[in-house]
C-alpha cells in the first residue's frame, strides 16, 4: 500500500492495544506501577521476555504511545521520550561515551549544550573537541580512536549556521563514528535525518512538537544505521543486541538509572501537539520568511540572518536539506546592546521570553541571557554578538508582527 503522508500518519497512528472504550486519544496513564498476575510473569517482564510496563520511570503506556507515533512518522529503529531536550543529549552521551573518550562538535551550539559538554561532562572525563564543522578537513584531523560521536545542530542556535550534513556523514562513516544531529530547529517533517546519513537524532520536543510550549520534553531517535560494534563502550552489547544496542543500553541502564523520564501527562500533551505539527510548522516558516524579508527593508536593522533568505550564505544548502522551510528562527542585529534592549522594551505584541517554536512570537537577546555565563572572548568564538536579537516566529498573522516591529523600531 502507498505510504500515507506525514499529517495523516501523525493523526491516525493506531494504538498498540485497542482501547476498551474506543477512545481516540490515548488515555493518560498517570500511574506509577503495574500489577502482574504471577511472580513468574513479573520476572519475565524484568528480563525483557514478556511485554509489560513495570514502573513509569522505565516505561509507561501513554509515553510509549507517543514514542511509537514518532517511530511511525520517522521510520526509526527506536524512539525514546525524555523529560527535556537536554536530558536527551545527556542520556545519549552517557550511553555512548565514558571517561577518556571525546566527541567532536562546534562552538556554535545552544548555550546549555555547550555548558553540558564544557562543564558538566568535562568533570566526568569527557573531552569535547571544537572545530568549524563546515571545514571537513579539520574535522577529520580531530577524530581519533577515542572519538565516540560527531555532534552538530542542523541549524545552529542562535548563529543560524547550516552544515553540509552529507559531508559530515561521509566523514563519520569513513571513520566508523556515530553521527548525532540536534534537530530541534528542524524536527521530523522538516528534515529527514536518515536520508542525509544521520545515525541518531536528539531534539527538544518542548519546541515545535509540544504544540505551542505546553510542556517540556525531549527525544532520542535512533535511525538504526550505526554499527554499534564500532563503539568501544557498546561493542560487547552489540554482539547480543545488534541494532537494538543503544535502545537496550538506554532503557535498561542509562535512562532507567538517570530517571529523566517523560511524564504521562507531557506525553499526552505532546501527542496532541504532534497531530498539528505540520500545520504549525508551515505557518511558522511562512511567517519567518515574511518577517525576515520585511526586516531586510527596514531602517536601523544592520543585518538579518535566516537561511531562507537568498542573502544567507546557507540559502542553497538549507534548501537542499530542509526544502523551502528552514525553521522558524531568525536573528537580526541593531547598533548596540542598548538599542536592542530599547527595541525589545517597545514591543507590544511580540513577547520577551526564552523559548522557540511557541505559537507566540518570542524575542530574546542571547548574549545577556542564554550566553550570559560566558566572557566576551568566548561569546565571540561562539558567534554570539551583543548587537544580536533572536526572534522565534510564531503562528500569528505576520502583518501584525511586522507592524509591531515597525512601531518598536520607530522609537529608536
Amino acid at each position: 500500500m502507498k505510504e500515507r503522508k506525514f499529517s495523516t500518519r501523525a493523526v491516525h497512528t493506531k494504538f498498540l492495544k485497542e482501547d476498551p472504550h474506543g477512545a481516540l486519544h490515548m488515555p493518560v496513564y498517570e500511574n506509577v506501577t503495574f500489577e502482574f498476575k504471577t511472580a513468574e510473569e513479573l520476572e519475565l517482564a524484568f528480563l525483557g521476555r514478556k511485554p509489560g510496563h513495570m514502573y513509569s520511570r522505565i516505561s509507561n503506556p501513554t509515553v510509549e504511545n507517543f514514542e511509537l507515533r514518532l517511530k511511525e512518522l520517522t521510520n526509526a529503529a527506536a524512539v525514546m521520550a525524555l523529560s527535556s531536550g537536554m536530558a536527551a543529549i545527556s542520556n545519549l552521551i552517557l550511553a555512548i561515551a565514558g571517561s577518556g573518550d571525546n566527541i567532536v562538535t562546534s562552538k556554535h551550539l545552544f548555550g546549555n549544550t555547550f555548558s553540558l559538554f564544557e562543564k558538566t561532562l568535562k568533570d566526568w572525563g569527557l573531552e569535547t573537541r571544537y572545530c568549524d564543522l563546515t571545514d571537513t578537513k579539520r574535522i577529520a584531523k580531530l577524530v581519533d580512536s577515542k572519538t565516540r560521536a560527531i555532534f552538530f545542530e542542523t541549524i545552529t542556535n542562535p548563529q543560524m549556521e547550516v552544515v553540509d550534513v552529507k559531508a559530515l556523514a561521509k566523514i563519520a562513516k569513513e571513520s566508523g563514528i556515530l553521527l548525532v544531529a540536534d534537530t530541534t530547529l528542524t524536527p521530523p517533517y522538516l528534515f529527514d535525518s536518515r536520508e542525509f546519513g544521520v545515525d541518531v537524532e536528539v531534539l527538544s520536543s518542548t519546541k515545535y512538537i509540544s504544540g505551542g510550549a505546553t510542556s517540556v520534553g525531549g527525544l532520542i531517535i535512533d535511525n538504526g544505521t550505526y554499527n554499534w560494534s564500532k563503539n568501544r563502550k557498546l561493542a560487547s552489547d552489540a554482539k547480543k543486541y545488534g541494532p537494538f544496542t543503544l535502545l537496550n543500553r538506554l532503557r535498561r541502564e542509562v535512562y532507567r538509572n538517570i530517571g529523566a523520564c517523560m511524564s504521562a501527562h507531557t506525553a499526552f500533551l505532546q501527542s496532541i501537539g504532534l497531530e498539528t505539527l505540520a500545520l504549525r510548522i508551515d505557518a511558522s516558516c511562512a511567517n519567518t520568511l515574511a518577517v525576515a524579508k520585511a526586516l531586510e527593508k527596514l531602517g536601523h536593522i544592520r543585518s538579518v540572518n535566516y537561511p531562507g533568505l537568498a542573502s544567507s550564505p546557507y540559502y542553497k544548502l538549507a534548501k537542499r536539506q530542509f526544502g523551502a522551510k528552514p525553521g522558524g528562527l531568525l536573528t537580526f542585529d541593531l547598533a548596540s546592546k542598548k538599542e536592542c534592549f530599547k527595541f525589545m522594551n517597545a514591543l507590544k505584541l511580540i513577547r520577551r521570553a526564552t523559548n522557540l517554536n511557541d505559537n507566540r512570537t518570542l524575542i530574546l537577546h542571547p548574549a545577556s541571557t542564554i550566553f550570559c555565563e560566558y566572557d566576551a572572548k568566548l561569546k565571540k568564538e561562539m558567534g554570539v554578538r551583543e548587537t544580536m536579537l533572536r526572534l522565534a516566529v510564531g503562528i500569528e498573522d505576520n502583518a501584525d508582527l511586522i507592524d509591531d516591529i515597525k512601531q518598536a523600531l520607530g522609537g529608536l
Partner: protein, 69 residues
C-alpha cells in the same frame, strides 16, 4: 522438531515452521513489538515470514519498549 524458546525446550509437531508461524502458535504477546533472536543473532522483522526453523534452533523473544498486556 525440537527447539529452545526463551531458554526452554519445546517440541514442535509440524515439519516446517517459520518465525512468523512460531509467533502465532506460541501466542507471543504484542508480535509487532517483539525482537527475535535466532541462535543469538537478531532476525530482520521483514524476514520473519521467510526464516524457517530447524531442529536444535534456539529462539529468544525480547521486548525493549514495554507494551502492556
Amino acid at each position: 522438531m525440537k527447539i529452545k524458546v526463551n531458554g526452554k525446550d519445546k517440541t514442535i509437531d509440524v515439519s516446517s515452521l517459520t518465525i512468523a508461524g512460531l509467533l502465532k502458535t506460541d501466542n507471543v504477546a504484542n508480535p509487532e513489538q517483539v525482537s527475535v533472536q535466532l541462535n543469538g543473532e537478531f532476525v530482520d522483522r521483514q524476514k520473519f515470514a521467510d526464516t524457517r526453523l530447524k531442529d536444535g534452533d534456539a529462539v529468544d523473544f525480547l521486548y525493549f519498549m514495554g507494551g502492556g498486556e
